[in-house]
Amino acid sequence: MRQALELEKGTIMTADRPVLSASGLTKEYGQAAARVHAVKDVSLQVMRGESVAIVGQSGCGKSSLLYLLGGLERPTLGSLQLAGERLEDLSEARLARLRRRALGFVFQDFHLVEELTALENVELPALLAGASPRRARDRAHELLEQVGLSNRSTHLPSALSGGQRQRVAVARALANEPLVVLADEPTGNLDSAATTDVLRLFEQLHATGQTLVIVTHDERVAATADRLITMRDGEFVDETRLTGGVARTLSALTGLEA
């Protein structure tokens, strides 16, 4: 299984094509007059190693979109490709397997298992994906080190701060070396200092080539992405590339320049 994953990743890595590709995604809830369009005709291609932020006010459909992109919900219309597979062709069971090995999720309220230690939370996805307990544990230790929490491995989530819990959740999202990490308001429950920690962690992941899709209402979080997409009333209304452009002067922003 692991080998199959490596092979698949290999094909994705060598070809310069999107790892995640959505076309005409639409999600409607309710019937007839009460019908609500949560997501309207959204198309998106996420390239390998890219970080993409989708920003919008609450109720704009950005979380619904993330659930569609992550295969957690099925779209009413439209098509989605992940790791070369068309999600609409997959049964629930196969979709769940694809999700487990190709995606990592980070949620606003952490979604850690409260009865398990930090280390056990992080090794869980690898165990579920069929890794040996030894291998899962080694990987979990590695990841906790990477997020700077080696010294908290035996703590239960309740003994950790919000920022630490979210870093455990990020480590867990990385357990199966996902093609894409999908984050839904990852700093929504964090104070300013913890937000900075999590953003630094995302920057570090991005620097190692991890593909990231972050949904947020917080422009400060979105501004760290390569590409920022604005969503309004279920639609993409604007796209701004934030990196790779002409260097601008910060001094103008600080008011040091008249």
Partner: protein, 196 residues
């Protein structure tokens, strides 16, 4: 105006100094872009667009600025008789004045917090039809986002407790506030467009 509400005029006068000194030229030109007008009509339009903020507006400044604009050949004036009352001046944009308005509408530089100028720019764009207010908001938003990205990356690169980090945090928060307001502007002018 309700007496319960603290009036903006009660704020320190220099809160609006920048606005008076820097903004009025282009704003006044924009107010003349649709039709020639008397000085008092220009002033009434400004008061309408500024609402309670107009209390901080120095009325005489409008006339002084119009004279200055005339000397700069951005407007021309002619005298119009009014029967038994004294003649009034009607101001009209010159091609150079119109070009200045066009350039101002497209300009995204935002060196100081200037919500009043930007607000008036959107009002001018909608009134004159010379530009799409929503397009102006989007361009401004992109410009602010680029700045926010730079400031945020620089802030994250600062070690914890760095004093420069504090300044960057201030820049980031101000730009974020700007973005929130731009979002409100986008909604307002979008709904205006959809209704018309």
């Amino acid at each position: 105006m309700s007496s319960q509400r603290p009036t903006l005029a009660a704020l320190p006068a220099d809160s609006f100094t920048d606005y008076q000194l820097n903004v009025v030229q282009e704003v006044l030109l924009a107010l003349l872009a649709k039709d020639p007008a008397h000085g008092y009509q220009v002033r009434a339009q400004l008061q309408l667009a500024l609402g309670p903020l107009a209390e901080a507006l120095n009325g005489g400044h409008v006339y002084v600025t119009l004279n200055r604009l005339e000397k700069a050949e951005l407007v021309v004036s002619r005298r119009v008789g009014q029967g038994d009352r004294p003649d009034r001046k009607v101001y009209e944009l010159t091609p150079a004045g119109r070009a200045r308005v066009q350039a101002w509408l497209q300009d995204t530089s935002w060196p100081k917090p200037a919500p009043a100028e930007f607000h008036l720019k959107l009002v001018a764009a909608a009134t004159t039809g010379m530009a799409d207010p929503v397009g102006i908001v989007d361009a401004q938003r992109r410009s602010v986002l680029l700045g926010l990205g730079d400031a945020q990356r620089a802030a994250l690169a600062e070690p914890d407790g760095s004093v420069a980090g504090l300044l960057l945090e201030g820049v980031v928060l101000r730009l974020q506030a700007d973005l929130r307001w731009l979002e409100a502007c986008a909604r307002h002018w979008n709904s205006k467009r959809e209704r018309s």
